[in-house]
């Protein structure tokens, strides 16, 4: 073999090496993460609590939407507007304000049940990289919450349309398909982000009761307290908390504040993402710092 040949080969080797390294770097991240996600997926569906939480979410959504819708229809009928139109999506969006609590319950159990049973030891033995465990749990709850949101939202819309079409209500139910589809997708994303935020809180807090309390405070408690103070800064702040940010993102017309959230949907999504990122960062920091 001549000298030139060697040098050409070594250049090729170097190129292949660099490319290989980059591919290896990608696979060192992705392959183990994929495996960790697979494990979390098996764990999520092998306990009953997941099913209970999802059933609860669906029930809240359907019953909430039908109840709100019936109320609105009755009001419309009483106001004497003959043959008033009611959009089926509106009551569903109102009900969607309740469902994040059920999603939070599901996501809470994904992490806190491991601390309660000390199963977290086995989890961290199998996947010792703390961030990877957290990412895997988030990547599993997010799509489940999103799909649950879309499916239960669809069921709720259908239920509202079916029930309110009954003659007793005397209203016409509108079903604009594009609007409804967009609402459902946003709802799925909203629920996914709430569930991921909860995983972050759970990793930081570890106990189920503590996690649910913190998430409840973030969603409801703190915004309510802020609203009660009555100050304009407090009001603005409360509207940026995750639940109201989510309702802004959904462009829900009728919220607990008495009307739509007074800023654009995009800003609502941005706040929601910020809260989720903060919770994940807190969870990650605590997972890394504290002993298992």
């Amino acid at each position: 073999m001549n000298v030139e040949g060697v040098s050409v080969e070594s250049v090729e080797d170097a190129t292949r090496g660099r490319r290989g390294q980059r591919a290896a770097a990608r696979s060192t991240e992705l392959v183990p993460l994929g495996r960790a996600v697979g494990a979390e997926w098996v764990k999520l569906w092998s306990v009953r609590s997941t099913w209970w939480c999802l059933a609860g979410a669906a029930a809240l959504m359907v019953l909430g939407a039908v109840t709100v819708g019936a109320g609105e229809a009755t009001d419309l009928a009483r106001s004497g507007a003959g043959n008033a139109r009611l959009t089926a999506g509106e009551p569903v969006l109102s009900a969607a304000a309740l469902v994040p609590f059920a999603m939070a319950a599901m996501a809470t159990l994904v992490i806190t049940s491991e601390y309660a049973s000390r199963g977290i030891w086995g989890t961290l033995q199998a996947v010792p990289v703390r961030g990877r465990v957290l990412a895997a749990k988030a990547l599993v709850v997010a799509p489940v919450a999103a799909v649950a949101g879309v499916l239960s939202g669809t069921a709720a819309t259908a239920a509202v349309a079916a029930v309110l079409s009954a003659d007793v209500f005397g209203v016409r139910v509108a079903l604009p398909p594009a609007d409804i589809a967009l609402d459902l997708l946003r709802m799925g994303l909203f629920f996914a982000l709430v569930s991921v935020m909860t995983v972050g809180v759970g990793a930081a807090v570890r106990s189920a009761a503590g996690t649910l309390s913190v998430v409840f405070m973030l969603l409801m408690g703190v915004p309510m307290l802020l609203l009660m103070t009555g100050g304009s800064v407090a009001l603005e702040a409360s509207l940026r908390m995750p639940l109201f940010a989510g309702l802004a993102f959904l462009e829900s017309a009728d919220t607990i504040t008495g009307g739509p959230i007074p800023y654009p949907a995009g800003e609502g999504l941005a706040w929601l993402l910020a809260w989720t990122a903060a919770a994940l960062a807190a969870g990650h920091a605590m997972l890394r710092r504290r002993d298992a």
């Binding site: 060192t28 392959v31 183990p32 495996r35 960790a36 697979g38 494990a39 979390e40 997926w41 098996v42 764990k43 092998s46 306990v47 009953r48 609590s49 049940s113 491991e114 049973s117 000390r118 199963g119 030891w121 086995g122 989890t123 961290l124 033995q125 199998a126 996947v127 010792p128 990289v129 002993d291 298992a292």
Partner: protein, 304 residues
């Protein structure tokens, strides 16, 4: 191979593990002994990267646990058999673990058969007896066919047949050249299983030696003699500086001398012997001597 170097773990002002350095070698069962609260479980948690050491290192084959790729394929461990979601079946538990480390699905069925719980694998883990949970924990440890095995009280809750099974399992794992590190407080069990012993007390290393050496080193390892001239021999041995205990009309136990020396002294005095043998201390006795000074919760101390 597990190597600990200057390993320390403090929780507040309590020191659980104090400057522990040792190596656990492959091809042997290493028993890990110590009184309650001596730091055995903490040491295992440090090895497994569950807790962070305050100082020092714990390496497995030269690598910290947290840096192992697919750690279950290198280290199998059972710390607490009940440490799993009570609502999940053993089968699902093992399937999740297998997925996390890219272990073939067939391996789950295989290890379930190895530990003899294939029939109850679909039952909720919370409904399993302690013995069955223990077997499930061992199955999880074996899942990745690892080089290093760590068991915290593995035969706890097993029935006598299960204890025997566990003993054979440890033995065969070590005979296959694996590193087997087992903690236990059942001394009789350790005496039958372990080749090497590591004894700690109050987080510090007390003894790191082969089992035979630990037992030979005990003050209770002695020479038993049966002779019709017990009085005579007792005086002779006493004069030679050997401690003698009279057990019966014709029986003596001599400590502080080898069996050869006792035999020679009797021969020189022309004393007939009907029996001359080494009476080995049990591991339990040897262990109690070793740890007498470091029992954290002594029953005697409570009266004060």
């Amino acid at each position: 191979m597990i190597s600990l170097k200057g390993l320390c773990k403090r929780y507040g002002d309590r020191t659980a593990v104090d400057d522990l350095s040792l190596e656990v070698r492959p091809g042997a069962v290493t028993g890990f002994l110590g009184p309650n609260g001596a730091g055995k479980s903490t040491t295992m948690r440090l090895i497994l990267g569950l807790d962070r050491p305050t100082a020092g290192t714990a390496l497995i084959g030269g690598v910290p646990y947290r840096e192992l790729r697919n750690p279950l394929r290198t280290v199998g461990a059972m710390l607490d058999a009940r440490a799993l979601h009570p609502g999940r079946s053993g089968y699902a538990h093992l399937t999740a673990l297998a997925r996390s480390n890219g272990i073939a699905r067939g391996r789950v069925t295989e290890v379930l058969q190895t530990v003899g719980m294939a029939e109850v694998a679909r039952r909720r883990a919370g409904a399993l007896s302690l013995g069955m949970s223990q077997r499930l924990g061992i199955a999880a440890a074996l899942l990745g066919d690892p080089e290093v095995l760590i068991f915290d009280e593995p035969v706890n809750g097993l029935d006598p047949e299960g204890v025997r099974w566990g003993r054979h399992l440890m033995r065969s794992l070590a005979d296959e050249g694996r590193t087997v590190f087992v903690s236990s407080h059942l001394m009789s069990e350790m005496q039958l299983t372990a080749d090497h012993l590591v004894v700690i007390g109050r987080g510090r290393l007390i003894m790191d030696a082969p089992l035979a050496e630990v037992i030979a080193g005990s003050a209770l390892t002695a020479v038993a003699v049966r002779t019709p001239h017990a009085d005579d021999l007792s005086a002779r041995l006493g004069a030679a500086g050997v401690t003698v205990e009279r057990l019966g009309e014709n029986e003596l136990v001599a400590t502080g001398a080898t069996i050869e020396r006792v035999g020679d002294l009797a021969y020189e005095a022309g004393i007939r012997l009907h029996e001359l043998r080494t009476r080995e201390a049990s591991l339990e006795q040897a262990y109690q001597e070793l740890t007498a000074g470091s029992v954290e919760y002594s029953t005697r101390g409570t009266a004060a």
